[in-house]
């Protein structure tokens, strides 16, 4: 499948924006009291969200998890309200109710970030069922980690989705670590994609640091889903460059392993590919990165200038 120059540039752009966004968060987390709560980043895994979301139409839905920033930015979420929510400010996309961990951006069809590991797939099944029920030519993508795959809910969701041929694409972001456990310590089968055969659905493992490969796999899964052929499982093999959270010293991750994966960073990889294809120039890349930096600076300014909600606003939004 030929991937258009526009799509390739879009992927590079959302990866650059995500990286700038999360690198900024890493710095902000070092400042005591700046950002409340935990901070869980997807640095180094940007090819997955950026590749997958580029393969979707705006009306397609994503259900994401605790490592959501890249997924949401790639789906088109506004960096300002996202950053303000991470700061827990009133102007945040969820009025300070969600913080960084549960960002919900229904306006870009990213209605749910669940931090309950393995909870996304059953909800994605419901969202995909609604698409099928209404006869929409739309799909739902569900991102979950290799750790989540140990949850029974993930099995239940895949079983039901396959049985009802729901238009859902399960994307397992295999980043080698579930908390402090290495993949082989929590999963007996070296291939997560193999699990698809248990549900008689296509399962494919792709290089999760190759945005073009992720795009291709998701595009094909989307076409199958729209043709009524049901769900797919795509295992994206990548690596968790940061800890489980920013407070995690990663003492259990070998230094040389982290270094080796940083060498395989998905951003220069796509950049060099685009340069080699002659689709962009070095100046274009610089301009993109400058723009990403400016947007992130603006988002931080917006968040810092925004007020906190008043305490009583805690009582709002429980019931419709």
């Amino acid at each position: 499948m030929k991937i258009s120059a526009e799509k390739q540039k879009e992927m590079l752009w959302t990866m650059l924006l995500s990286r700038r966004f999360e690198d900024e968060l890493t710095e902000l987390c070092k400042i005591e009291g700046k950002i409340p709560g935990m901070m869980i980043l997807s640095t180094g895994q940007e090819a997955v969200g950026s590749g997958a979301c580029a393969a979707l139409e705006p009306e397609d839905v994503i259900i994401t998890n605790h490592r959501s920033h890249n997924h949401l930015l790639a789906k088109g979420a506004d960096p300002n309200t996202l950053m303000a929510e991470i700061y827990c400010k009133r102007t945040g996309c969820n009025k300070g109710k969600s913080g960084t961990l549960h960002l919900a951006v229904p306006e870009v069809n990213a209605p749910c970030t669940s931090t309950v590991v393995g909870a996304g797939p059953p909800i994605a099944v419901g969202r995909a069922f609604a698409q099928q029920y209404k006869g929409e030519q739309r799909v739902t993508v569900c991102f979950f980690g290799d750790g989540a795959a140990a949850e029974g809910s993930v099995h239940e969701a895949m079983n039901l989705a396959a049985l009802w041929r729901l238009p859902v694409i399960f994307i397992c972001e295999n980043n080698v670590y579930a908390g402090a456990q290495r993949y082989e310590e929590h999963a007996p089968n070296p291939s997560m994609a193999d699990r698809a055969s248990a549900y008689a659905m296509p399962g494919e493992a792709v290089d999760g640091n190759d945005a073009l490969a992720v795009y291709q796999a998701v595009r094909e899964a989307r076409e199958r889903a729209l043709a009524g052929e049901g769900p797919s499982l795509i295992e994206c093999r990548t690596y968790r460059c940061r800890g489980h959270g920013e407070a995690d010293p990663q003492h259990y991750q070998p230094k040389e392993e982290i270094r080796a994966w940083k060498e395989k960073c998905p951003i220069p990889r796509l950049r060099d590919d685009l340069l080699a294809q002659g689709l962009i120039t070095a100046a274009d890349v610089q301009a993109m990165d400058d723009r990403a930096e400016a947007l992130v600076k603006e988002a931080v300014r917006f968040a810092e200038d925004s007020p906190y909600p008043s305490p009583e606003e805690a009582l709002e939004d429980v019931f419709a």
């Binding site: 109710k97 969600s98 209605p111 059953p122 909800i123 994605a124 099944v125 969202r127």
Partner: protein
């Protein structure tokens, strides 16, 4: 007026709402093709009428059923899913407690989740404690959920129709013991408001607050006490969340005495909540200490004499009332 068991009343509500609104669908284990070919059961005949597109038989997967409801509701459908028995709530609880109840709040009010989770409950069937366990207090303890427990077939119909039209997640618990006794049910399309208790029997000496399967026990006790000249007022909560404090307090103001009666176990039960509300907001109304009559703090046993021991009866209620008269 037609006479229906509660299961049939639920069936009528489902049928009418599915005709009214194409966004309403039902899903669960055996809601279509059931091993119980029994017209007294709530989803009997709906598959034949609405087809497999809207009456969805699922695998034995409570988390997936509840997740289906959450995702579909967010997309604008109005799922009514069945979790076969109240104790299986535990298998669906992540989706209900952490998602159905919380996602509206987490979205800052951007998303709504108009879903209904129907569950059967209640002791009295010799099924033992993994099928009989009233967990309404668990659901009531989760902000973001409404909790409805009708005691009559007429209320079941009107309340379920309201629940389906409500834009919030509603936990709807049906007592199996009420499926088989026909009761009058209006034939028209009517809505019973969620959050309004009803005085099912007026009285002047003592208030009994109850709900679901215990209404009959309260009525029997009131009948017996009436022979002795004691006038019992019975408040049927119908809805636990939101709680109709006003009707409770108005009744206690009238009688000055309160007994709370529920089938669920005592410790942490919803009766404690009613007691606390009356102590905080109606302490001066009380002429005597209030009492709770509840199931004992044990799992529901299977053996008939043990199960009978578990279920609160009218004699226990009469004893409690006499203690505070």
């Amino acid at each position: 007026m037609q006479k229906l068991g509660m299961g049939q009343a639920v069936n009528q509500a489902l049928r009418e709402e599915m005709h009214r609104d194409p966004n309403v669908f039902i899903a669960g284990e055996g809601v279509g093709v059931s091993i119980h070919l029994n017209p007294m059961f709530p989803t009997h005949g709906l598959l034949e009428e609405f087809g497999p597109g809207r009456v969805k038989d699922t695998p034995v997967s409570e988390a997936a059923i509840a997740g289906l409801a959450v995702g579909a509701a967010e997309a604008g459908l109005r799922p009514v899913v069945e979790i076969m028995f109240n104790p299986f709530f535990t298998l669906a609880s992540d989706m209900i407690v952490n998602h159905a109840a919380k996602l509206r709040y987490l979205s800052g009010g951007k998303s709504t989740f108009p879903l209904v989770v129907r569950m059967k409950s209640g002791a009295g069937f010799g099924a033992g404690c993994q099928h009989s366990h009233n967990l309404e207090a668990w659901a009531a303890h989760c902000p973001g959920l409404k909790v409805v427990m009708p005691a009559t077939a007429a209320d079941a119909k009107g309340l379920l129709k309201s629940a389906i039209r409500d834009d919030n997640p509603v936990i709807f618990i049906e007592h199996m013991g009420l499926y088989f006794a026909p009761m009058p049910v209006p034939e028209n399309d009517y809505l019973t408001p969620i959050g309004q208790a009803e005085v099912k029997r007026p009285g002047t000496d003592v208030t009994v607050v109850t709900w679901s399967g215990m209404l009959g026990v309260a009525m029997a006790a009131a009948e017996k006490l009436a022979q002795e000249g004691v006038s019992v007022e019975i408040v049927d909560l119908r809805t636990l969340v939101p709680l109709d404090k006003e009707t409770i307090l108005t009744s206690v103001a009238k009688t000055g005495r309160l007994v709370v009666l529920h089938e669920a176990t005592r410790t942490g039960g919803f009766g404690g909540e009613i007691a606390a509300v009356v102590m905080e907001e109606g302490f001066n109304l009380l002429k005597a200490p209030l009492r709770r009559v509840t199931g004992p703090d044990i799992p529901v046993p299977a053996s008939p004499p043990l199960e009978r021991f578990y279920i609160p009866d009218d004699e226990q209620l009469i004893t409690a009332i006499k203690e505070i008269l």
